[in-house]
Symmetry: C2
Subunit: 588 residues, 2 copies
Amino acid sequence: MSDVLLSERDMAFLLDDWLGLETHLAAIGSDTDRETVSQYLDLSAKLAADRFLTHYKKSDHEEPRLENGRVRVLPEVGEALREFAELGLFSASFPAELGGMGLPYLVTSASYAWFAAANGASVGYAMLTGANARLIAAFGSEAQRDRFALPQIEGRWFGTMCLSEPQAGSSLGDIRTRAVPDGSDEFGDRYRLTGNKMWISGGDQDISENIVHLVLAKVPGEDGALPEGTEGISLFIVPKILPDGVHNDIAVAGLNHKMGNRGTSNCLLNFGEGEGATGWIVGKPGQGLAQMFMMMNEARVAVGLGAASLACRGYLLARDYAKERLQGRAPGVRDGTPVAIVDHADIKRMLIAAKAYSEGSLALCLYAAKLVDEKANPESTALLDLLTPVVKTYPSEFGRLANDLAIQVHGGYGYTRDFDVEQLYRDNRLNPIHEGTTGIQAGDLLGRKILGRGAGGFDIFSKRAEEAASRAADNPDLAAHGSALADAIGNLEETIVSLKALDPARRLDNSALFLEAFGHVVLAWLWLEQALAASSMIAADEESRAFAAGKIAACRYYFEVELPKSQHLLALVGGGSTAAASLGAEIF
Amino acid sequence: MSDVLLSERDMAFLLDDWLGLETHLAAIGSDTDRETVSQYLDLSAKLAADRFLTHYKKSDHEEPRLENGRVRVLPEVGEALREFAELGLFSASFPAELGGMGLPYLVTSASYAWFAAANGASVGYAMLTGANARLIAAFGSEAQRDRFALPQIEGRWFGTMCLSEPQAGSSLGDIRTRAVPDGSDEFGDRYRLTGNKMWISGGDQDISENIVHLVLAKVPGEDGALPEGTEGISLFIVPKILPDGVHNDIAVAGLNHKMGNRGTSNCLLNFGEGEGATGWIVGKPGQGLAQMFMMMNEARVAVGLGAASLACRGYLLARDYAKERLQGRAPGVRDGTPVAIVDHADIKRMLIAAKAYSEGSLALCLYAAKLVDEKANPESTALLDLLTPVVKTYPSEFGRLANDLAIQVHGGYGYTRDFDVEQLYRDNRLNPIHEGTTGIQAGDLLGRKILGRGAGGFDIFSKRAEEAASRAADNPDLAAHGSALADAIGNLEETIVSLKALDPARRLDNSALFLEAFGHVVLAWLWLEQALAASSMIAADEESRAFAAGKIAACRYYFEVELPKSQHLLALVGGGSTAAASLGAEIF
């Protein structure tokens, strides 16, 4: 494998030199060994390059289309996913009793990164299917699990999550899909569903034998009215084809045509145009949102990882282009042969920024994946809870900046569809929107995880970051960064104190600025961690020395150029800036 | 006209209340009156909405295509441009002796903004044609002017600029197109041209009767070798169809397929696949780059204005959507009807940022257009020279941020091709690349205009900005902004002093950061100017009061949130940060 998708070297560094994969496997009681992990990741990288990357352009150009009420997808997407299933990749993360390999989340995340770098739209079907099956396995009855989760774990059926409605995107309490009791059978209490669901990725396709929709809906009270707010939301299993082989009452009302990520079909589904779509409730009425959040949290980490993978591939393409493309000369030199553009200071600036954003994003997502594996440890769970909005958002926002810079390094060529960087940029534009927009993540971070009940995570974060800062104190290259990180954490703490002194109704006004600033501090911490790990590596050859120097250079760049940006943002947050929130609608 | 393209109110404010259009017309000795300007702008707004906006989506979807060696463009593009010609819009900016209306550049720029907001790709043909004709009129012989410029001024022929080659984009000194003397005739010294020209917008199309290519090439010396560097560049008029009706030796070797701005065909042209393409030199050998720079400077202001117009339209679409879309409730409120999303603090944040970037960009470009009109005043010329890289870059970079925010305000809908905001975002991605990338502009600003020969412009800028700051001192709402602006200028001056103390070979290493910081200071100044003008308006009604309050709010936002970002950037520049420039290629 070349670096055509991701850097193998970086992945090995993150997993082994930094995150200590072998120790991790032992600590979480996994019976997987490092050799098995290597084989699995090699297989993933090869399959991603051979079967997913190969139709990356084509699946963008030949979008899913609606024919006679059914969605047709480019055949190559289905072929790739069938091979993905045959090689056991759908089931890899599931325990042996569900037919899986029981691989830790850190390992399946590393695998997912290769596919997301190659073709995030195609592997998106598998990501949603795994999350769907995991939710049914966790909360469904045994009969539901066997009937609806197992075929997904085998990769024969695919799954979706049906949350949004045309009038209710971020505000799920306002959904209007109605579920009316309709008896019960071996799969539990049966309902008839009626309503419209918007933005359903994989909502229809012609790849899998069946589609399992997990649908949020409300059960009307005795007066026929739907309960208000999110407490009234329940979760239903609504298959495209019912167990008796009959097509369920689900119609594809439309296909959304997106700017990017086009290989994943995205549908408006009408449930119950006739007598109502048949569905079975998962658990009890009113538990729907809490259950769905398990799937959404998994999806949010996956979105971050997908965004990070797009960013990493863009960086590598830009780096390779910059080393090959000859143009211009050093300042003051007028004659002679043009130099590779990587020698120009402004190209170096763009590359080191792209490297810092993209590799930093990947490190963040893998760190979070490790926390997912450590679910027996309350400290890890609390830290994951805190970091999830950052994991979702930082790669979506700053990873896109890396994709933007990758276009700029390519000049005019980067703006053409002959090169992949423009598609990476379009594909990545989705990520700040779906699974909770950046604004929603910002409110979640500040409202719930910093100022609300989940606030314990912050102390764990600051303890770990300060521990890294103190390790850096003995390293002449990194000591100043350690001090800067400690200062930045102090700055965060002061900002939180200031926030608590504000009118409660105004504390979230600048939550997006807080999320951005907090993201910079988290990334600075993780860059310091990487630089510490790189410093302690024994570099056996030139290439290894250059790799370690690259990590230390990106860390330095982050501390010198990016981290200081948090100060101004935190001053606005702590000072309760009303520059935006005080404005009346009429002034726009 | 509604605000579907641009805000009529804002345009009138900028032209009359701020830039003092009537006084300006008198000062530059124009015989155009305000009433004529109004009619012209009303006509432009109407034509833009009725004939250009109407095929905005279609010309994106149905790109130009190559058929039998010729480029076919969507018929609607040609129909719109023919009406544009019939109404005299091609000739409007030219003097009466060339068949034009002699309208000032400020007025034609305001007109252009409407078309760029409606369909920048379609009006792009006209922009290039006007710039081409102006160049021939300025430097060509009378025979060249009559033969090649006049049909363009009438809008019957279109023009292109052929600079880049596949191996020479930013580095024009490395072009290899060869021009060999071939006698002379009524149009001057004739040459035969051989070479490949890349990224030629409008390089071929089936709209105009003929195409006038202005081509940069080199005349070989007696040893047959091409002269090195930019001094050896000459400029040639190379028409698609020669005066005797014969097709010139120019072949369309390929059509570039772009991410956006697709309505403008973009070609690789081969000149001289046979005996050489026939061309006539403009002026003398070696003058080509200096002549072309006249066209490039005009094109750079036009690029900035185009970017600003895309940004403004995106802002208006987002604003309208935010006022209509109901979703969520105020913090702490759980029941009742959802509110318009414009009431959420995070949506206000995005809207005020988009307003500040987009209206600020438009103000910047119109200010520059006014300077173009004042060419008799050396102070205006020097200031325009200084500001041109900012005019090209700020709207291209921060206007895109406005487009990005417009998508985010729309949520998932913004990511679909059913809404225009995604296309505005794709279209605007071109602007930091063509007519000199952001990196090239940054080097031009810092190397030539701040530290080099053109440095006089900075003193004029600081004098004007400080004058605005002192006017603000008497205004209780704006006095603090005035002080902040004076401080920011002091900060710029200190940075320049620090830069001069650095090793000359390293002074441009962080030029992109300097350009970004300088852009913030320039925009802060222009926002203060706008707020001062808005403060002195007599608001006759609610709507006028809201408009003025909006200008003052955007000014406050700029000073509170954006301007302070320049401090950190300038500290990096003045400190000679080597975080990027010191890196070896091997660490990437």
